[in-house]
Structures are given as structure tokens and as C-alpha cells.
């Protein structure tokens, strides 16, 4: 069975690449979601921005860079080191945060394959049409809900 059978959430929100991460964060907090898609003006999919990427900006560079500090317990309650970078979110664009490494699904992708890919990536996966336009995002939750419903559990 192809994933067409599952209702994935449609691209009524699609951020432009020049939007600021601060806007993206506000949108995600309002809707209670952790990921938002990024599309160009013609609706073609570019990538996904997630709350993890935004949080990573706030952490001191010495810890987030590859090979950096893996433990910050010693710094105690230095919350100001996190909030110091909140303003940076206004200066950046979501295009710089776009995750472009995610596999892409088609409407006729099999559910089994989609399930496997979802276990391998920590984000919902984009479903695109032939022209690369975003049809929606398929989440683990949506796929599991479909399976439970099909099985009549």
C-alpha cells in the first residue's frame, strides 16, 4: 500500500528561505510542532527547519562545534550563555538552517519503506509531487495512527 492512504499534514505553512528563525520558532511554538518545511516562491521544497537546529544556535559555539565540549555540567546555571544568542535568531535566515539531507517520499512510496526511513531520521519526511512541490510532511505519529486504525486496535 502506498503512503497516499495516510493523511499527511498539508503544506499550509511553508516558510520562505529568507524568513528569520525567530519567525519560524514563533510559528512552531504556536502550533506545537517541532518541524516546519521551507519552500521557494513556487512551492518547491527546499528543506526542513526544526527546533533542534534553533536550540543549537543558542548553545555556546565551543560546545556545538564538532569536537567541542561534550559536557557542560561544570558551567552550572549559566542560563545567560543561552539567552545571549536569542538575538542572533533575528539576524539569520531559515535557509541557513534547512535540513537538506532528508530522504524524499512520493505519494506512491510504499508504507513499509516510509516506516523504515522514519526510524532512520529524526524529522518528519517530505512528500513531493513530480515537480518537486511539497504535498505534505509524513510524521511517525501519522504513520503509526494509520497502522493502528488499519489493524482495528
Amino acid at each position: 500500500m502506498p503512503i497516499k492512504a495516510i493523511p499527511f499534514y498539508p503544506p499550509d505553512i511553508c516558510l520562505q528561505p529568507d524568513a528569520s528563525p525567530a519567525d519560524a520558532l514563533r510559528l512552531m511554538l504556536e502550533r506545537g510542532i517541532d518541524h516546519a518545511p521551507i519552500c521557494d516562491r513556487d512551492g518547491r521544497f527546499i528543506g526542513i527547519i526544526g527546533t533542534t537546529a534553533i536550540l543549537r544556535v543558542l548553545i555556546p559555539v565551543s560546545a556545538q562545534a564538532q569536537g567541542g565540549l561534550s559536557n557542560l555540567r561544570f558551567a552550572g546555571d549559566a542560563v545567560s550563555l543561552l539567552t545571549a544568542h536569542l538575538r542572533d535568531l533575528e539576524r539569520l535566515t531559515v535557509g541557513e538552517f534547512a535540513r537538506k539531507d532528508l530522504p524524499v517520499l512520493r505519494e506512491d512510496s510504499p508504507i513499509l519503506e516510509a516506516a523504515l526511513l522514519l526510524t532512520q531520521h529524526s524529522a518528519p519526511l517530505p512528500v513531493l509531487d513530480e515537480g518537486g512541490r511539497l504535498l505534505g510532511l509524513l510524521s511517525r505519529r501519522a504513520l503509526l495512527a494509520h497502522l493502528v486504525q488499519q489493524a482495528g486496535l
Binding site: A65, G68, R73
Partner: protein, 446 residues
């Protein structure tokens, strides 16, 4: 000699082994300098060409590989890879920062001192790899420009590495080839390293130190850091510090116990792996050992292996003997003049290219001078080579692997170090340290 004659006759196309070996040598080094292809690949290809062209046969190539250097490097890398997981480096850095009440200039001096000591006892790359993230974190908390700190860490690592046998790969190679032990390096090079370290801080103070300022509330924040929380695994910490202490003791007493440094380092590595394996099931043990071995810098190790073979090729063909005779002719066989040439040429060469291939080439050149100078006198040349190669690494961003490690982390952390601005300050400072070294060599050995 039969072996030399028979293999010389087999060199391809009937070319002279001298020309073929020089061709392979120059080609290998030229490609290494361009840095377009990973240096381990280039060195291994060069080694393969030396053998396949008939300059060396396989057993001659193997004989050229200095397993004492390889064993010492690998053993220390295993020990350090395991130790670094304990968080001891962050602990020391935080203690150092708090000891000077997070004063910016005091912090710079402390981080330089910590880096120099770690670089003297461990390899430079590992030392900076562990110090730079925590240094950046503290400067970020103090809202300081990290550049002076990164610059200082580079200098301190190369100066600290100069001080001991195990501090810098050139010293490991020189110690092994010249049969100079841990204590020889400590007694002959550490005093000078200390002087150079202290003198280097003067320009750092004039350029940066007196202008550094941190807000009191930011300093309070750093003073609130709890270094004990940096230790992730107390048992691991105790085990690794015990083994490191034993290994260092072994190095100091290596002459008395009659063991080579590679044996001591490898035995230490095996001991630490054993301590880590206690109480773990078979599969978990394998996993842990596998992970520790995986952190050995195999690129560096294979680079050494390849280079040793390439250098063995030019050594066997007689090219390095010609170079040695040429150098002696140039200096009129005068020890002082030869030492100065070795020192200054090593320094400038090591600033511009990797010092490892340079030292690998110079070792047989100096060995070839043994007939001109006595065994006591030749030591002056070994110290000249060590000082030039280690301190020369400060001359530019590509002068030492540790410099590049600092630069690449700084780049990832959004604080790039530029090649030319670095060199404009670093090269004159490096030359000054070589001038001090000249004076030292002159007073003590010449």
C-alpha cells in the same frame, strides 16, 4: 656489498638508483606540500614507488621503518584517547581560570601554561584538541575576543612540545635514531623551552594582555563554574592518571630499566586497556578496545610508515650522504657553523612545511656526519635539529599539525584564524625564539 649491487642493477629502465630515488623523493614531498591529496596516501604511494622501482626491496623498506617511533606514538595515542574521556582536561582548565579569579590576562597565562605542560607530556595535537574547546567556552563566558587565546595556545603547544622526548613527533624520531632518552631531552631542551615560554609572554602582554578586560559579572559567572562537575568518570580518571604516571616514570627510568620508549608506551596502553576491561563481558570488552584503537590517528601513523620508506630510499641510494658531505663542505666542517645551519634551516623549513618529513630526511643526513664530528659533538646537531623543527612549527599556521587543529576548530566555532595575519605576528616571534636557541646552543654546546 652484494645486496646493494644486486638491487641497484634491478632499478627500472637501467636508470641510476640515485636519480630514481631523488625523483620519487622530490615528487612525494612536492605533492605533500600542495596538501591536495591526503598526506598518508602520498607517503604510502611514494614508499610503494621506491620499492617497485627497485631502489629498495621489501625487507630494506621494512628495515627503514622506525618501529620505536611508531610504537611510542601509537601507545601514547591509545592512552590519551582513553584518558580524554574522563574530563580531566576541562577540570584543569577550569581550575586554572578560577585560580586567577577569571582575570583575562591571568587566564591567558594559565591556559598557556596548562597547554605547554600537557603538550610536553602528551602529543600536541591531543593537547590542543582538548584545551581549545574549553578555552573558547571560558572566553565566551567572559565575552572576550578568543583570538589572543587561540594564538597563545598554538605557541604554548609547540614550545611545550619541544621540552620532552614525547612532546613532539620530531623529538620522538630524533630520540629513537640518536638513542637519546627522555632525561636527555628533559635536561637539554626543557630549560630552554621554559625560557622561550616566559620570553614569549612579553610580546603577548604588550600586544594583547594589557588591553584585555572582562566585566565583573561575567567573571563572577566563571568563578561559579564547578570544576568537579567536569569529571565524567572518577574511576576512569584514577586509572588513566595512574597509568600515565607509571609511563612517565618508565620514561625517566628507561635507561636504568633498559627499556625503549615504545615498549614502555605500548605496555602502558595495554595496562590501561586491561584496567578498563575488568568486570566487563567479552563483547563489551571488544567494543571498548575497538573504540580505543579507532581513536589512534592512523593517518599520522601511516604517514610516518610511508615517509620512513621514502627516506630509506634516498638514504640507500647515497643522496643523503652527498647532502651531508655538501653541508660539511659548506661549513668547513666547523661544528658551530653546522649547528647554526641545521637550526635555522630546520626552523624556516618547519614553519613552511610539515616538520615530520623534514626531520625524517635530516636524521640520516646528520648520522652521515658522524665521521666528521665525534659522538659528543654530534649531540649538539641533534639538539639544533629538535629546536629548529619544534619551535619552527610556530612560524605559520601550517607549521605544525596542532596549529591546523586549533585553526580548524576555531573555524567551526565561527572564529577563523587567517593565514597571513597569523604569520605576520608568528613568524617574527618564531625567529626570535630561534635566536634565543642559537644563544643557548652556543653557550652550552659550541
Amino acid at each position: 656489498m652484494h645486496g646493494a649491487a644486486s638491487s641497484a642493477a634491478e632499478v627500472i629502465f637501467g636508470l641510476s638508483p640515485l636519480l630514481v630515488s631523488l625523483g620519487v623523493f622530490v615528487l612525494t614531498y612536492a605533492v605533500i606540500v600542495t596538501e591536495k591529496i591526503n598526506r598518508a596516501i602520498v607517503a604510502l604511494l611514494g614508499a610503494g614507488l621506491m620499492i617497485m622501482s627497485g631502489v629498495l626491496n621489501q625487507s630494506e623498506a621494512f628495515a627503514g621503518i622506525d618501529l620505536n617511533t611508531i610504537g611510542l606514538l601509537t601507545g601514547m595515542m591509545v592512552i590519551v584517547a582513553i584518558t580524554s574521556k574522563s574530563g580531566v582536561f576541562q577540570y584543569v582548565a577550569v581550575v586554572a581560570a578560577k585560580a586567577v579569579r577569571a582575570d583575562p590576562w591571568g587566564l591567558l597565562v594559565m591556559l598557556a601554561g596548562v597547554t605547554a605542560v600537557f603538550s610536553a607530556l602528551l602529543d600536541n595535537v591531543t593537547s590542543v584538541l582538548l584545551i581549545v574547546p574549553v578555552a573558547l567556552f571560558i572566553t565566551e563566558a567572559l565575552r572576550l575576543n578568543p583570538y589572543p587565546y587561540l594564538f597563545t595556545i598554538i605557541f604554548a603547544s609547540n614550545i611545550g612540545g619541544t621540552a620532552t622526548l614525547i612532546g613532539d613527533p620530531p623529538n620522538i624520531m630524533i630520540g629513537s635514531a640518536a638513542r637519546l632518552g627522555f632525561n636527555d631531552f628533559l635536561l637539554n631542551l626543557a630549560p630552554l623551552a621554559l625560557v622561550v615560554f616566559a620570553l614569549t609572554l612579553i610580546p603577548f602582554y604588550l600586544v594583547w594582555g594589557r588591553k584585555l578586560h572582562a566585566a565583573p559579572e561575567d567573571r563572577d559567572q566563571v568563578m561559579a563554574f564547578d570544576e568537579r562537575e567536569a569529571i565524567t568518570d572518577v574511576r576512569l580518571l584514577k586509572q588513566s592518571l595512574t597509568v600515565i604516571a607509571l609511563v612517565l616514570l618508565g620514561f625517566v627510568l628507561s635507561h636504568q630499566v633498559g627499556q625503549e620508549p615504545a615498549t614502555i608506551a605500548m605496555f602502558g596502553a595495554a595496562l590501561l586497556l586491561l584496567l578498563r576491561a575488568f568486570g566487563k563481558a567479552g563483547e563489551e570488552q571488544t567494543h571498548e578496545v575497538h573504540r580505543s584503537f579507532a581513536e589512534v590517528e592512523w593517518v599520522t601513523i601511516f604517514f610516518f610508515v610511508g615517509l620512513f620508506v621514502v627516506v630509506a630510499g634516498v638514504e640507500k641510494s647515497g643522496a643523503l650522504k652527498i647532502l651531508a658531505e655538501w653541508m660539511i663542505a659548506l661549513t668547513g666542517g666547523d661544528l658551530g657553523a653546522t649547528a647554526m645551519v641545521v637550526l635555522w634551516v630546520s626552523a624556516v623549513a618547519s614553519a613552511l612545511v610539515d616538520n615530520i618529513p623534514f626531520v625524517a630526511t635530516m636524521i640520516p643526513v646528520i648520522q652521515n656526519m658522524a665521521s666528521t664530528f665525534g659522538p659528543e659533538q654530534i649531540n649538539a646537531l641533534w639538539w639544533s635539529l629538535a629546536l629548529g623543527a619544534c619551535l619552527g612549527g610556530n612560524g605559520s599556521l601550517v607549521g605544525a599539525s596542532a596549529n591546523l587543529v586549533v585553526a580548524s576548530f576555531a573555524e567551526r566555532a565561527g572564529q577563523p584564524i587567517r593565514f597571513l595575519p597569523f604569520m605576520l605576528m608568528a613568524f617574527p616571534l618564531m625567529l626570535a625564539s630561534i635566536a634565543v636557541s642559537s644563544l643557548y646552543l652556543w653557550l652550552r654546546y659550541l
